[in-house]
């Protein structure tokens, strides 16, 4: 059986091509794959589409890739006031942005992972988010059609993995990571610790191994 454990961060991201679409997990400083982000910056792929809740924080998280001008397009819910590199490039027209309500952002990912092509929800109906989207009424409520959102890669952060790729997370560092894992062609996870197969309680595994393709153990550069 092919080994999912990669020896280095650089090996784990070596084949990401320019122009790839990538999910980046994390929310509020927790659960960001900061080590994979830095490895991707070293690797050099450019013209990326980044799909993430926000767009970097100070010098950390996705700011690393914005600073290096590797991201051409962003799909995000809340770029954030601390996403200074993104904001400068957005103001200069150097990066495109699709704003998506946060719950719809994760639901579109879940749909892609679950074989759902599109779904109707009330979120955003009657707002500028609905522009260009099909509208329909259900039970008297206006609803709009949202499309599944997959990606070429998911870069995620978990707490522990076993060698099969089963994952557990810590507290609110779970956030987008398990959903992104289901919706990418290739899911790459950085973890604090790799444990023996069988060490994780089957009742507690949040991401089953089927969703994980590459595992790399990384010491936590949580915020930079």
């Amino acid at each position: 059986m092919k080994d999912k454990i990669y020896p280095t961060l650089d090996a784990a991201v070596a084949d990401v091509p320019s122009g790839a679409s990538i999910f980046f997990g994390g929310f509020g400083g927790a659960g960001f794959p900061n080590n994979l982000i830095r490895a991707l910056e070293r690797q050099g792929a450019a013209g990326l589409t980044a799909i993430s809740n926000n767009c970097g924080s100070g010098e950390g998280e996705l700011s690393v890739l914005f600073k290096a001008r590797r991201i051409r397009r962003v799909i995000a819910s809340f770029p954030g006031p601390q996403s200074t590199y993104f904001q400068a490039q957005f103001a200069a027209g150097q990066v495109e942005l699709e704003l998506v309500p946060q719950g719809i952002l994760c639901e579109r990912m879940r749909a892609a992972g679950a074989g759902i092509f599109a779904f109707f929800s009330a979120v955003g109906a009657g707002t500028e988010i609905a522009n260009g989207k099909e509208e329909r009424t259900f039970e008297g409520r206006r609803a709009i059609l949202e499309q599944a959102l997959g990606a070429d890669f998911a870069f995620i952060k978990a707490w522990k993995a076993d060698a099969l790729g089963n994952l557990v997370y810590r507290k609110a560092a779970r956030n987008f990571n398990p959903i992104m894992a289901t919706a990418a062609k290739t899911t790459i996870v950085e973890v604090d610790e790799i444990v023996p197969v069988g060490a994780l309680d089957p009742e507690v595994i949040i991401t089953p191994s089927i969703y994980v393709h590459r595992i790399v153990q990384a010491k936590g550069l949580r915020n930079v």
Binding site: P79, F90, V100, R170, K171
Partner: protein, 229 residues
């Protein structure tokens, strides 16, 4: 408005009285984020955070922060006994699916039909951002907007029609401001309470839509703010 109106803390204090014991509640950015401190101690309120926490407790004490346990504002928090963690799609299944008893959000404008605008000021610099506000506004069983009654330049924020970009249509149930408590009903806006020392006429004058008054409008019964939380 030269008369003193409520402080942000007092708006939060009044809003806290809207929470029934046992409620599942999400508190948004701004004034709502101050509300948790004013829940009666004998009540059990289950606070939800859209990054995947139910049963969120107060902010961490200095030195006890766990940066894997943060609220939607990136602030380290605690978890109460009986808390649970889940992923963000499950967190928003709760918001969108109608499971939150009450949500409180900040507001830029609320219309007389209960439309909410709270995510973008027209012409503002930068990208703006939506976050979880649209999901929360569209799905909560009861949405309470906590805000100042008027903008800094005196324009009313309770209006006939929102002119700012909308967050969700016909979603607001109650508005708590520094001047009043207003309910959004099928018939229109109903003035339920006024801030101490403020008259219904003064509230109406500061409002961009017609307020209905049903009998005498009582003053808010604000308990004294505790010295220490």
């Amino acid at each position: 408005m030269s008369k003193p109106t409520l402080t942000r803390e007092q708006i939060a204090q009044r809003a806290a009285l809207e929470l029934p014991d046992g409620a599942y509640v999400n508190l948004g950015w701004g004034i709502p984020n101050l509300v948790a401190a004013y829940v009666p101690k004998k009540f059990t309120i289950h606070f939800h955070s859209e990054n995947g926490i139910l049963g969120m407790g107060p902010r961490s004490k200095p030195g006890e922060e766990d940066y894997d346990l943060v609220d939607a504002m990136k602030v380290p928090v605690t978890a109460l006994p009986g808390a649970s963690y889940f992923h963000q799609a499950d967190a928003h299944a709760m918001t969108r699916g109608g499971h939150l008893d009450v949500a409180m959000l900040g507001g830029l404008q609320v219309s007389e039909k209960g439309d909410l605008a709270n995510w973008k000021v027209p012409g503002q610099k930068g990208s703006g951002g939506i976050g979880g506000a649209m999901d929360i506004a569209s799905g909560s069983r009861r949405l309470i907007v906590c805000m100042e009654h008027a903008t800094k330049d005196g324009s009313p924020k309770v209006v006939r029609e929102c002119t700012y970009p909308l967050t969700a249509l016909e979603c607001v149930h109650t508005i708590v401001t520094d001047m009043a408590v207003i309910d959004v009903t099928r018939e229109g806006l109903v003035l339920r309470e006024v801030a101490p020392g403020i008259t219904p006429e003064e509230v109406q004058a500061a409002t961009g839509a017609t307020l209905m008054v049903r009998g005498r409008v009582p003053e808010m019964n604000l308990p004294p703010i505790p010295a220490e939380k």
